[in-house]
C-alpha cells in the first residue's frame, strides 16, 4: 500500500492572497503621491527627514525584537508605514534628531511595549507626533521652509488653518493642490483623497470612517463655525490641516479603530465632533491628531456596544 503520508490541517485548505505585508505595502503606495509632492515643495530636508523616520522605525523594531528574543517582523512593512506616516506629520525643516526620537517613541513606547503589531491602543505615528508636539512645541510648529524654489515661493510658514483662525483669507486652490505650508505629507487634499480612494477601491479600508469623519466635521463647522453657510470657510476646513491625511490614513488604522462596521460609523462621528471642537473652540488651529488619539482610547468601549448580532439570533431556541 501507499505509505506516503500527506499534510493534514483543519479546513480551509486554501488561503486568500492578501497578507499583512501586501496590505501595508498598499497603504504605503497610496501615501507616496502626497509624500512626493511634499518632497518637491519642501526640499532636501523633507526628504532626509522622511528617510530618517522610516529607517529609525525599522531599526527600532528590529532592535527591540532582537533583544527581546522575539520573531523579527520588519518584513511585514508595518514599521516602515509607521515611519512614513510619522514623517508626513512632521514639519519639513525639523532638526534631524526629531524624527529619530519620534520613530523610537512610536515603535518602542507606543507599539512594542504593548505587544507589537495589533496590540497597540493608539496609532504609533500620531502618538509620537503628539509626544513631539508637547516636548518640542517650538520646533514642531515652525512650518517655515526653503524648498527647491519649485512650484511656489511663499516661505512664511503660516499654515492655512492658522491663517484662517487669525481671520485671514486663504487660497483654496493652493490648499486643494497642496502648495501651502504644513507638515510634509498633509498639504495636498487632492493627492490624499486619491490615495484614500485607491485604498477604498482595493478594499483595504472601508468608506465608513473617512466619510463619517469628514461629513460630521462639515456639519459641525456649518453649525458652530460662526460663519453660517460659507462655502469658502467650509472648504478651507476640509482641505486644511491634517484632515484628509487623518481621515483616510490615520483614523482608518486597523489596530486602533473599531473592528465592527457599526463601531466604525460611530468612531467617525466622534472624530468629526472632536476635531470640530478642538479646531473651533480650542487654542490650537489644528485638531485632527488629538482627536484621533483620544478616540483611539474609546475603541474598546465602542466595540463592546456594537458587537454584530449573530445570524438567526432571536429565532426559536431548543
Amino acid at each position: 500500500m501507499n505509505e506516503q503520508f500527506y499534510n493534514v490541517s483543519a479546513n480551509p485548505h486554501v488561503r486568500d492572497k492578501a497578507t499583512t505585508h501586501s496590505i501595508m505595502l498598499d497603504v504605503i503606495i497610496a501615501l507616496l503621491p502626497a509624500t512626493f509632492l511634499g518632497w518637491w515643495n519642501f526640499g532636501w530636508k523633507a526628504i532626509i527627514n522622511t528617510i530618517i523616520c522610516v529607517a529609525t522605525c525599522i531599526i527600532a523594531e528590529y532592535a527591540w525584537q532582537h533583544f527581546m528574543h522575539k520573531k523579527i517582523t520588519i518584513m511585514d512593512c508595518s514599521a516602515a508605514l509607521t515611519g512614513l506616516l510619522l514623517a508626513m506629520n512632521l514639519p519639513p525643516e525639523v532638526p534631524f534628531f526629531i524624527p529619530v526620537i519620534g520613530g523610537i517613541f512610536a515603535i518602542i513606547v507606543v507599539k512594542q511595549i504593548f505587544g507589537g503589531l495589533g496590540q497597540n491602543f493608539m496609532n504609533p505615528a500620531l502618538g509620537a507626533r503628539c509626544f513631539l508636539l508637547i516636548s518640542y512645541a517650538g520646533l514642531m510648529t515652525n512650518f517655515s521652509y526653503k524648498g527647491f524654489g519649485g512650484s511656489f515661493d511663499a516661505t512664511t510658514g503660516a499654515t492655512p488653518l492658522a491663517a484662517l483662525k487669525a481671520g485671514e483669507t486663504v487660497n483654496l486652490r493652493a490648499m486643494f493642490f497642496g502648495n501651502t505650508a504644513g507638515t510634509i505629507g498633509e498639504t495636498s487634499a487632492l493627492l490624499l483623497i486619491l490615495g484614500g480612494l485607491y485604498l477604498i477601491a482595493r478594499k483595504i479600508i472601508s468608506w465608513r470612517i473617512p466619510v463619517c469623519y469628514i461629513g460630521t466635521l462639515a456639519v459641525f463647522v456649518l453649525l458652530f463655525g460662526g460663519h453660517g453657510f460659507d462655502v469658502n470657510y467650509l472648504a478651507a476646513h476640509m482641505f486644511g490641516g491634517g484632515l484628509m491625511l487623518g481621515a483616510f490614513f490615520m483614523a482608518t488604522d486597523y489596530v486602533t479603530s473599531p473592528i465592527t462596521p457599526k463601531g466604525q460609523i460611530i468612531f467617525g462621528i466622534i472624530l468629526g465632533i472632536l476635531t470640530g471642537l478642538f479646531r473651533i473652540f480650542g487654542g490650537s488651529s489644528e485638531g485632527v491628531s488629538y482627536a484621533i488619539i483620544f478616540s483611539n482610547l474609546l475603541v474598546p468601549l465602542i466595540e463592546r456596544y456594537t458587537t454584530p448580532v449573530a445570524f438567526g439570533k432571536g429565532g426559536k431556541k431548543e
Partner: protein
C-alpha cells in the same frame, strides 16, 4: 428577479474548469471493498452479514442501528472477508465490513415502488440507506419526516455547489436533470402544501438554462439563480437566500418551513423509488493540480481512495495534500488508504499545501473575518477566547452559531487559523452545555 444571496461570504478561486466539462464515467473497482458502518450522522449501522457470506450488488449488509442511522448496501458482488476496524476519511478507526470483489457485479433484485404514496416513499428512502450526500450525511428519511409536516412550504434542492473545484452535482444536472426533477417531485409528493425550489449559483448558467427549460411544465418547481458566493450552499445561507428566513444553530430547516436536499440526494431518492435501487454509488469529482486526468467518476461506495486516484490517471507530481471534499470545508487525509463512503463528494489533490506555506502572525484587526462571516460573528475575538479556553464566554457570545465554513481563515491576511480555533471552541462549548444539562 434579482440574484438571491446572503450576508457575508467571499469568492475563492473556484477551479471548476479543471473538471466541469468531463462527463461522468463509471469506475469499476478491482480490489477489496471497505464499507464503514458509520457513513452518516447518528448511530452506526449493525452488520447483518458474517464472514464467508456471499453478497450481491445492492444487497443490504448492515442494518440501521437506530432511528437516526442508515442501512448500508454492498456495491459489488463477492465474499465477506472479515469485519474489522479500518481507518476512514475522518481519521478515526471505524468498524468496517470488508468484501472481496469478485468482479462479476452480480446484482440483487431491485423492486421499484409500485404505488408511491407517502409511506411507501419514506420506506423506500429508508431501505435504500439514503443520507445527505452534500457532505453531512444526515439520514434522509429522518429529514423527510418532520414533526409538523403541514408547516413545510418549501423543498429546496441545494444545487449551489459553492465549494471550489467540485463539479459532481453540476455534471448530474447536465447529464441526468430528469432524475433530479423526478426526485424532487417524489419529495413534493410527501408535502402537498410545498413548492419546490432548485437553487443554483449563477456561475453555472448552462445548468440554470437546462433546468429552467425542463421545469417549464412543472408548476410546483421553480429554478432560482443564486449569487455565486461561498458558502451559498451552506444550509442556513441557502434558506435565507431563497426564502428570506433566518434560522440559528439550535433550529433545523423545518423550523423555517423548509427541507433542504442536495442534488445527489434527490437523484438517490429517484433511484430508490422508481428503480428500487439502494444507495451504493455516487458521483465523485477527482481533481486538483496534482491529478493527471481530473474528472467526474461514478464511484462505488467502499472503493479505495488511492485506487480512485489511479483511475484518474494517477499523479503528475506527488501531492502535498489530499482532501476529501472541497478546499473550504473538506477533510485533509493523512493517507489515501481509506474507503470512499456515501458522503465522499470529491478527492482533491494539491501539489502545494497552502496552509503550511502560511505562518500565522499577529492579528492586525482588519475586520475581514467579521465582514465575511455568514453567521455574523467576530471570529478574531471568538478564536482568541477559544484559544484561551474560556468556553463559557465563547458560548455566551454565540460562538456555537459558527458553521465552520472556513471563510475567516481563508480571508485572514495574518494567516491566523481562526476556523480551527472556532471549531475547537464550538466542540468544547457544546460539550460544556451537555455537561451542564446532565
Amino acid at each position: 428577479m434579482g440574484l438571491l444571496t446572503f450576508r457575508g461570504g467571499l469568492h475563492p478561486y473556484d477551479g471548476k474548469e479543471l473538471s466541469k466539462d468531463r462527463p461522468i464515467t463509471e469506475y469499476l473497482p478491482k480490489g477489496e471493498m471497505v464499507f464503514p458502518l458509520s457513513q452518516h450522522i447518528g448511530a452506526p449501522a449493525v452488520a447483518c452479514v458474517k464472514k464467508g457470506d456471499r453478497v450481491l450488488v445492492g444487497q443490504k449488509i448492515a442494518e440501521a442501528g437506530g432511528f437516526v442511522s442508515a442501512n448500508i448496501h454492498s456495491s459489488v458482488s463477492g465474499k465477506v472477508k472479515k469485519i474489522e476496524q479500518r481507518m476512514t476519511v475522518s481519521g478515526n478507526k471505524v468498524n468496517c465490513i470488508i468484501v472481496e470483489n469478485d468482479g462479476l457485479y452480480e446484482q440483487a433484485e431491485f423492486t421499484p415502488v409500485e404505488n408511491p404514496d407517502r409511506d411507501a416513499i419514506i420506506n423506500a428512502v429508508k431501505e435504500a440507506g439514503i443520507v445527505g450526500l452534500g457532505g453531512a450525511g444526515f439520514p434522509t428519511h429522518v429529514k423527510l419526516t418532520p414533526k409538523e409536516p403541514e408547516k413545510i412550504d418549501r423543498i429546496i434542492i441545494n444545487a449551489a455547489e459553492c465549494e471550489p473545484y467540485i463539479t459532481a452535482d453540476y455534471r448530474c444536472m447536465m447529464e441526468i436533470p430528469d432524475q433530479l426533477i423526478s426526485g424532487l417531485n417524489l419529495i413534493l409528493a410527501l408535502f402537498p402544501e410545498a413548492k419546490g425550489v432548485i437553487g443554483i449559483e449563477d456561475n453555472k448558467p448552462e445548468a440554470i438554462a437546462k433546468l429552467t427549460e425542463l421545469c417549464k411544465t412543472e408548476d410546483r418547481i421553480e429554478v432560482a439563480a443564486l449569487k455565486t458566493k461561498y458558502p451559498q450552499g451552506a444550509e442556513r445561507s441557502l434558506i435565507f437566500a431563497v426564502t428570506g428566513r433566518a434560522i440559528n444553530a439550535s433550529m433545523i430547516p423545518a423550523d423555517a418551513g423548509c427541507i433542504v436536499d442536495n442534488v445527489a440526494t434527490a437523484i438517490a431518492i429517484h433511484e430508490a423509488v422508481t428503480l428500487g435501487k439502494p444507495l451504493y454509488e455516487r458521483v465523485v469529482t477527482v481533481t486538483g493540480d496534482a491529478v493527471v486526468n481530473p474528472g467526474n467518476y461514478k464511484v462505488k461506495a467502499g472503493t479505495n481512495a488511492a485506487e480512485l486516484a489511479e483511475a484518474a490517471g494517477g499523479f503528475k507530481v506527488q501531492p502535498e495534500k489530499v482532501i476529501s471534499g472541497g478546499p473550504m470545508m473538506g477533510m485533509a487525509l493523512s493517507t489515501l488508504d481509506v474507503p470512499c463512503g456515501k458522503t465522499f463528494s470529491s478527492l482533491l489533490c494539491f501539489t502545494k499545501d497552502e496552509v503550511r506555506a502560511c505562518e500565522p502572525s499577529n492579528c492586525i484587526r482588519c475586520g475581514r473575518c467579521i465582514e465575511v462571516c455568514p453567521a455574523g460573528l467576530m471570529p478574531t475575538k471568538l478564536s482568541e477566547i477559544a484559544d484561551r479556553g474560556d468556553f463559557e464566554l465563547f458560548d455566551q457570545l454565540d460562538g456555537c452559531e459558527c458553521v465552520e465554513c472556513g471563510c475567516c481563515s481563508y480571508i485572514c491576511p495574518a494567516k491566523r487559523r481562526l476556523t480551527q480555533s472556532m471549531k475547537t471552541g464550538r466542540r468544547e462549548a457544546l460539550a460544556l452545555r451537555r455537561r451542564k444539562k446532565a
